[in-house]
């Protein structure tokens, strides 16, 4: 295993003066490639903020953030967008699919937006991912016609489309029933084992956390365990 990402002395504050809130207070974290890690902690501990910074959607107030050897704290918005597209996948709690597109079109988005069109090769990869997610019969379904579990599996497929090194999942099973949640976690575990994709999964669910090989506990803006 090689180093995937490292954050050092990460600080993130919101607001200024009397209303300033320090969410991350000098957090340190390192991840290796191929890790399947759960991010645990109470609400307000800074899990989501950490995931947002690791996903390059937000810059820290101070501290360093490197991934794959690239210093992401000094990169431009354009460079971060390109980096995010190539190396990071996202799975959100509420699937966040594009509602006016089919399952396949949603999965293809990260590749199509980079290549400027939906290529045959991308379509092949997208269909393969959807089949792997157990959605062979739902490839061309509008996402509005899918169940919650199916939508979340489409979201996982979309996160994997560009073969990213890291997938950040913020409560990916938080909105699913137990059966669907386990199904999604099984798929994540399978992808992690077979493709070596790293996962960092924020969750409150101890069973979900237990299914991950590493548990990272965040409390009061710091990694506590």
């Amino acid at each position: 295993m090689t180093a995937l990402l490292q954050v050092r002395d990460l600080v993130k504050t919101f607001g200024t003066g009397d209303v300033e809130t320090r969410v991350l207070r000098g957090l340190n974290l390192a991840m290796q490639t191929g890790e399947l890690a759960a991010l645990l902690g109470p609400s307000g501990s800074g899990k989501s903020t950490l995931l947002t910074i690791l996903g390059t959607l937000m810059q820290p107030t101070s501290g360093s953030h490197t991934m794959l050897g690239v210093d992401l704290t000094t990169a431009t918005d354009r460079a971060l967008t390109e980096f995010r597209n190539l190396h990071i996948g996202f799975v959100f709690q509420f699937h966040n699919l594009l509602p006016d597109f089919t399952a396949l079109e949603n999965v293809l988005f990260p590749t199509a937006v980079r290549e400027g069109r939906e290529t045959a090769a991308a379509r092949g990869r997208g269909e393969e991912l959807l089949v792997r997610m157990g959605l062979a019969e739902r490839v061309h379904f509008p996402t509005a016609n899918l169940s919650g579990g199916q939508k979340q599996r489409v979201a996982v497929a979309r996160a994997l489309m560009n073969r990213p090194e890291l997938v950040l999942a913020d409560e990916p099973t938080g909105n699913l029933d137990r059966a669907s949640a386990l199904q999604v976690m099984d798929l994540i575990g399978e992808i992690n084992r077979e493709e070596g994709t790293s996962f960092l999964i924020s969750t409150h669910d101890e069973k979900i956390a237990a299914s991950c090989r590493r548990q990272i506990v965040v409390g009061d803006g710091l990694v506590t365990g």
């Binding site: 967008t81 597209n85 400027g116």
Partner: protein, 403 residues
């Protein structure tokens, strides 16, 4: 770009009712634009047809020589000369300058004339008339005599004469009858009425006679040259520029119609400006409508914009998605509005029927500015979409997804 266009199209087709309403709104604006263009253009055509249609656009008249002084001047000499209707000054070198002027771009017709005053005498009846000698074959070069003929033909080749209907009635003259014509010089000729016209203008119908140029030469003892040449242009608003070119080319004192018709020119220009203002308002309505609709769409799709950005869509990509929506709405609305405008304008009488006797609105279907309306609408809609598109592109993905 192709993928951004696909997403834009999907957004539009996903909200069919909203898109249809938006396109309908744009189409109404385009329809108004086209209707106003056709109306303003038609009105201008109507005014030109009824007032300026039969006038020359550029004329060159021989300059009368200064009266000779009978006494050698001592000190300042003051002279007063009454303008004479009698023809004396002659343009001699027409053969040299006419081909040059006729070859100028925009010159579509020319007429060499010998004008003067005289009398029509029939028995005890005598009427003073203005006599215009025209080149046979060019009778309708300036005034559309062919179009005004009510009896006979506008043909001066056979040595005949054309008179107005009122003059014919006053003199009790009918087609084929002969009448004695006496010029101001006292030279007489007997001519046959070969055509009777009705222009609708009092003096021309009651005090004007047209004869062949050869006849006019005899009547006014002018074996060479002419007293006036007139030109018509493709576009009468080019008259000033062409006049300057003629002056530079020939050294002759060419006169544009705008010098004598300043009021008409001002009226036409005011009307054209009014048209531009009304068309501008129609375009502004379209721009505001598209901008507000797209701003609303941007707001409604904030979470999706956030997702796109999170998935690696660059800011420019988001901008192109929303600008493409504006362009598509503008293009579609422009096409629908232009088609509707053309369809409605088909029910109005054609421009050929414009004239003093025509009733109803003088709307000219050929001046609908359809292509311009479509292009301006598309450009306007693109311009209108830039602000919402910029707002969309600048959205913070974290905030947008959280909504």
């Amino acid at each position: 770009m192709i993928y951004a266009l696909k997403i834009a199209t999907r957004y539009l087709t996903a909200s069919k009712a909203q898109t249809a309403l938006l396109v309908f709104g744009v189409a109404i604006g385009v329809f108004i634009f086209i209707f106003m263009s056709a109306l303003i253009g038609g009105l201008a055509e109507f005014i030109i047809t009824t007032t300026a249609g039969d006038m020359d656009h550029i004329s060159i008249q021989a300059e009368a020589d200064d009266p000779p002084l009978l006494l050698p001047p001592r000190g300042t000499v003051l002279l007063v000369q009454q303008a004479s209707t009698r023809t004396s000054a002659v343009l001699k070198d027409t053969a040299a300058f006419m081909p040059l002027i006729e070859a100028l771009p925009g010159v579509i017709a020319s007429s060499q004339q010998i004008n003067g005053s005289g009398f029509l005498i029939r028995g005890a009846l005598t009427t003073q008339v203005s006599i215009s000698g025209l080149e046979p074959g060019k009778e309708s070069a300036i005034i559309n005599l062919d179009g005004y003929i009510v009896e006979g033909a506008a043909d001066l080749a056979t040595g005949g004469m054309l008179i107005g209907k009122t003059l014919a009635e006053d003199m009790d003259l009918r087609l084929g009858q002969s009448v004695r014509v006496q010029s101001g010089l006292g030279i007489e000729a007997v001519l046959t009425v070969t055509g009777i016209y009705e222009i609708g203008s009092g003096p021309r119908d009651s005090q004007q006679a047209f004869v062949g140029l050869a006849t006019a030469r005899t009547l006014f003892a002018m074996p060479q040259g002419v007293t006036r040449v007139e030109f018509k242009l493709t576009n009468l608003f080019d008259a000033d520029a062409t006049t300057l070119r003629i002056r530079a080319l020939t050294g002759l004192d060419a006169v544009s119609w705008t010098e004598a018709g300043a009021q008409l020119l001002a009226a036409l220009q005011t009307q054209a400006q009014l048209g531009v203002i009304l068309e501008g308002f129609a375009m502004l309505t379209i721009i505001i409508g598209v901008a507000s609709a797209l701003l609303l769409s941007t707001y409604r799709r904030r979470p999706e914009i956030g997702i796109m950005r999170a998935m690696g869509a660059a800011r420019w990509f988001v901008m192109v998605v929303f600008v493409s929506q504006g362009a598509l709405i503008g293009l579609l609305g422009g096409l629908v509005g232009a088609a509707a405008g053309y369809g409605v304008l088909l029910f109005f009488p054609p421009r050929e029927s414009f004239g003093p006797d025509s009733t109803g609105l003088p709307i000219d279907i050929t001046q609908g500015a359809y292509g311009l309306a479509i292009v301006l609408t598309t450009l306007g809609a693109i311009a209108a979409s830039i602000l919402p598109a910029r707002a969309a592109a600048r959205l913070d993905p974290v905030t947008a997804i959280g909504q």
